[in-house]
Subunit: 332 residues, 2 copies
C-alpha cells in the first residue's frame, strides 16, 4: 500500500510545473503537443489518478449527493434508488447512501456527517415525524415518499390520498358492502393521507365510516398479518379490504391464505405496490401502484436541477398519479 503518486510527481518527472499538468488533465488551457504527450506518458506510467479531495477542496464542489432512507431492504426503495442512480450518473454525480432504520436520531447524525462531507444535494425519505434538523441547512434538499407537510420544501410524492380514494372507490363500485382498510401510522403523511382517501371515498358514495373496519398498524408484515386477523374477527366480517402499504399487503394476504379464506369469494383484496410476484400468487393480486423507477429518475433530476440553479428556484412538488391494476383478487 505505497503512497499514491501526486501531480507533483508527474510534474517533476515530466520536467514541467503542476500548473501545466493540471491544464492537460482538464483541457483548460493550450499546451503544446510535445509536452502534452510527454505528460500523458508519465501519467500512464505512474498509474497516476488525480486526488479528488484536493480538487473538491479547491473547487468547492464534490459531485456527491446524499441519500437518506430508512431501509434499502424495503422493496419500495430498490427501483427508486435505481432511477436516482441512473439520473445522477448521467450527470456525473455519485451517490452516498445512509440508512436510518426509521430512527430520527440516527437521521440527524447521518445528516451531520453528510453535510461535513460537503454533499451538494440531499434526498430524504423521512425517518419519522421529526423534521426540525432539516430546517436551516443551506444544501439543496428533496424529500420523497415520507415527506414533511410544510410546502417550503421540494418534494416528489405520490398521490396518497388519490391512491386510497381510487382503490376504495373501485371496491365500492363493485358492490362490496363492508370495505375495510389496513392503514399505516397516523403520524406519517403516507399513513394519514391514505386513510383520508379511504374515508372520503366511503362518504362520497354515501357510506358510513365504520371504525371497526379500520385497523391502524405499523408498516410491517407481522402487523399486516395481525391486523387482517383482527379485521376478520369483526361481525359481520368485511367483504373487501384495501391494504395501504406493501408490507401490510404481504402480511394480510398471508393471513387470509393461512386461515383458508377464499379470495375474492370470501373477501375481495386490493393491495399496494406492484411486484412480479403479484401476478403469480393465487389469485393474482389487484394493486394500486406507482412508476417507481420513473419516480427515482424524477427525484434525481430534481436534485440535479437544484444544485445547478444553486437553490434559487422556488420550492416545487411533483406528485405521481397512482395506477389501479385490476387482477383477479377483487371485482373486475
Amino acid at each position: 500500500m505505497k503512497k499514491k503518486p501526486t501531480m507533483q510527481d508527474v510534474a517533476a518527472i515530466a520536467g514541467v510545473s503542476t500548473a501545466t499538468v493540471s491544464n492537460v488533465i482538464n483541457n483548460t488551457k493550450n499546451v503544446s503537443e510535445g509536452t502534452k504527450r510527454k505528460i500523458l506518458e508519465v501519467i500512464e506510467s505512474l498509474d497516476y489518478i488525480p486526488n479528488n479531495l484536493a480538487k473538491s477542496l479547491k473547487m468547492r464542489d464534490t459531485k456527491l449527493i446524499g441519500l437518506l432512507i430508512s431501509d434499502i431492504a424495503n422493496p419500495f426503495f430498490p427501483p427508486v434508488v435505481r432511477g436516482i442512480e441512473d439520473s445522477l450518473a448521467e450527470n456525473g454525480y455519485n451517490l452516498i447512501l445512509c440508512e436510518t432504520n426509521s430512527d430520527s436520531n440516527l437521521e440527524r447524525e447521518n445528516l451531520r456527517v453528510l453535510l461535513s462531507r460537503r454533499i451538494e444535494g440531499l434526498m430524504v425519505s423521512l425517518a419519522g415525524s421529526e423534521e426540525s434538523h432539516f430546517e436551516n441547512i443551506d444544501t439543496p434538499l428533496v424529500f420523497f415518499n415520507r415527506v414533511p407537510v410544510s410546502d417550503q420544501y421540494n418534494k416528489v410524492q405520490v398521490k396518497n390520498f388519490k391512491a386510497a380514494y381510487v382503490g376504495t372507490t373501485h371496491l365500492i363500485g363493485h358492490d362490496y358492502k363492508r370495505v375495510a382498510i389496513l392503514a399505516g401510522p397516523q403520524h406519517l403523511n403516507v399513513g394519514r393521507d391514505r386513510l383520508f382517501g379511504y374515508k372520503e371515498a366511503l362518504l362520497e358514495s354515501g357510506r358510513e365510516v365504520d371504525s371497526n373496519y379500520i385497523s391502524i398498524r405499523e408498516f410491517t408484515v407481522a402487523e399486516g398479518y395481525q391486523g387482517m386477523k383482527e379485521l376478520m374477527n369483526q361481525d359481520p366480517k368485511p367483504d373487501a379490504v384495501f391494504t395501504s402499504n406493501n408490507a401490510l399487503t404481504l402480511g394480510a394476504f398471508q393471513f387470509l391464505k393461512d386461515a383458508g379464506y377464499r379470495i375474492p369469494q370470501d373477501i375481495a383484496f386490493l393491495g399496494y405496490d406492484d411486484t412480479q410476484w403479484a401476478t403469480i400468487v393465487d389469485p393474482p393480486i389487484s394493486v394500486v401502484r406507482y412508476p417507481m423507477y420513473e419516480m427515482g429518475q424524477a427525484i434525481g433530476a430534481m436534485i440535479i436541477g437544484l444544485v445547478r440553479s444553486r437553490g434559487q428556484e422556488p420550492s416545487r412538488t411533483i406528485a405521481f398519479e397512482p395506477e389501479l391494476v385490476v387482477r383477479k383478487s377483487c371485482g373486475c
Copy 2:
C-alpha cells in the same frame, strides 16, 4: 446559499487560534474549561460544521467505502447492502454506491472515479467476466457474489456448487426421474458452478446427464419463462426442475402457472433464493437460500478488517453454506 463558516471564522470570533479549535473539536489536547466553552458556543452560534474534505486531505483517510454492483433492483442485493451498510456504519464508514448495469466498461469507469475519490476500500460484484482493471489497484478489495476465479483476491461467496448439488440431490432422492435445470451464463462463476453441482449430483447417483434437460439462460425473468417453456417441450417432459437463480425461478414459475401445469404433480419445483412471497404462492416454493443479511455483514466486516490492517493480510475466502428449505413444491 452563503459561504459556510470555517474553522478560521470560529477561531477569529472566539479569539483563539485554529489549532485550539481543532483541539476542542477532536478532544486531542487539554484545553482549559473556559476557552473550550467559549469555542463551543461560537461553533453552535455559527452552525459550524467541519469540512471533512480538508480533514481527509490532510489525514489521508476518507472513511469512505465503495460498492460496485450491477443493479440494486435485483432482489438479491438489497438485503446484502443492508448488512453491508450496518456493518460500515457501526465502524464510522460511509458507503458510496455505483451501479454498472453489468457493463464492464462502466465498471472500469466507475472504478476510476471511486479511486480518485480515495475510497479506503472497495466491494465488488463483478459486472462480467472482465476483471483486468482490478489487477493492480492498491486499495483493499473484496469481491462477492460474482467473483473472479483467481485466489489472489478476497472473496465472500456462496457455495454455488454445493447449492445446486444439494438441491439436485434432494430431487433425485425423492425419486424424480428426469430432473431438469435452468442454468445461468457459463462465463460467470455463479452460472458455471451451479451447473456443475447439478451434473455432479446426477453422476454420483448413477444418473446420466441429458443435455435436453439443461437450459442455459441469461439471469432474467423473461429468459426463465422462455427456458421453462422449452424444457416442457421435451419428450418426455422433465418431472422436476431446479431453477438456479431468483429471476429464473420467477420466470419459470410464472410459465408453469400460465401453462396450467400442476406443481408438484406434473413437475416438482425447486427455486433459488428465498423471499416472503415464496410462502404465499400456491404451492409454497421450496428453495435453496442463503443468509443474505449476514453475508452483507461479513462483507462489510471483511473490508473494514482489510482497511484496518492496511491490506497486510493474506487473501481470504469466506463461503456461506446453502440452506435447503423444503415447502410444498417438491417431494418432502
